[in-house]
Symmetry: C2
Subunit: 323 residues, 2 copies
Amino acid sequence: MFLGDVPDQLGAKTAQGIVDWRPDWCLGQMRLPNCQADLGIKDISIEEAAKNGAKTMVIGIVNSGGFLPEHWIKSVIEAMEAGMDIASGLHIRLSSIPELEQAADQLGRNLYDVRHPSEDVPTGKGTPRTGKRLLAVGTDCSVGKMYTTLAIEKEMKARGIKSDFRATGQTGIFIAGTGISIDAVVADFISGAVEVLSPENDDDHWDIIEGQGSLFHPSFAGVSLGLLHGAQADALILCHEPTRKHMRGIPHQPLPDLKECMELNLVTARLTNKNARFVGISVNTSGLSVEEGDKLLKDLEAEFELPCVDAYRTGVASIVDAL
Amino acid sequence: MFLGDVPDQLGAKTAQGIVDWRPDWCLGQMRLPNCQADLGIKDISIEEAAKNGAKTMVIGIVNSGGFLPEHWIKSVIEAMEAGMDIASGLHIRLSSIPELEQAADQLGRNLYDVRHPSEDVPTGKGTPRTGKRLLAVGTDCSVGKMYTTLAIEKEMKARGIKSDFRATGQTGIFIAGTGISIDAVVADFISGAVEVLSPENDDDHWDIIEGQGSLFHPSFAGVSLGLLHGAQADALILCHEPTRKHMRGIPHQPLPDLKECMELNLVTARLTNKNARFVGISVNTSGLSVEEGDKLLKDLEAEFELPCVDAYRTGVASIVDAL
């Protein structure tokens, strides 16, 4: 896990997600001086990582613009020289950086850009398909949609329910080992990409589809709507972060209230699945005290008559029970 | 206007739009044997076109997949040899076809792919901006949004009202000479592209923004929603084709009714402009008799208490009056 010198913990969000969900895959973190993130795994040099069998250096960071800082290039080339492939979820393609492309060429290494869909997808059709689907939607971006859907897949698999997490963003793709970064698809193909991502399946199989953005986010609502239509979700889960003061990155934009958010998601989801309904609410209560969090979940359960969980604190068992 | 040998009139839709709205720009059409489209302008050879001063050959066709048939390449190269640049609205980039790129290189000609946004755009922010904006939305794709918005711009300009048509699709871009093909933007940047396309302006200036798709189209609703949010429209016009049996290209999908369609557009438009409202309905009545069309417009006016027009048959004066 290469973290460069990101200025805060959030900058290492992608690497952190991989460490949280696939700890066995992660041999260590490599940080440059002044790096302000820490994944809680051991610091390791490139040399040591290679000796321990690391096959890939993951550039597991997020930054605005999705670029690769120039002073990181040296480390990335060193990793290739030590025998590793490179994987990145940045907007910029690794192969568009001449030094990296040249090194990969000379050394015979692979550059993986997980954010860039590698297959052509058709436009969406909305044709009903077999199998069941669950989609996480949100009041905002970064409110726990990936965490919640990964937790549901884990709980289902533990119960022997056929299910697959379907990744729609860079971190989810690293964790699942496959997926399509929906926000990087050409706009005409958003719903089509989701149809490809969650194809027809056994009647008792659940695709647990990671959501993106929010219908109420002025930047990304188009992505969220195409995802909703392509998913043809039978079951929706609303994800929410109760301490958020405004839509992420948009100080002038208030959050929708939960009821309004659920209503718009239902109205629009029913274009491609008349039976779409909410089956639970997943709240990230980490910004509240335990008492406040418990009270909020109880209040929401009373108001919406749905299982309400904090996927991290309470787990998602009650939602899977309901399903 | 190069039409190749498209199998029907609809295949020449882009060229037809240019001829309809910018007849002075069009010196003639060039058709291959078995071409089933006719723009109603004179047939002209490449040699003759060049002699008459044609600067650009426009590949003005649409086909499923957006490719360039191989047997057209010869004509395109001939046009470059005769001195012309080439412009296309296809999905495929002209420069990705080796013979064309090589010829353009050798001859010093330009290959214009109007469908491919040439500038980087930021993500949308939804920040209110000065100037007024009108957006055409639809019950479906291809129901007259471009025609209606071009007609409104023309009517406004004739009255001395400051206005600009803002093209969001390939045909509109050819007509306006500028614009961004919104369906070809990366999904994360849909609303951002529309914000760039219709920047802040004088308080009494109208941007007349071409719409795309429909919130009720399972393939393209994400594009339509991002466009709606980016446009921050003060005024919406609903475009409709009353003989359409199902959503374009999706036989199992019924059209929304007009009221439902207007309601969802209003609810979602108000995320970025609290004052968004409908100012008119534009119906393509060409599939009805004159009597039926007149009756429909009258009935709709009574039901919705808005000016209802057929932009082609009745003109859009009543909508501009209301604005």
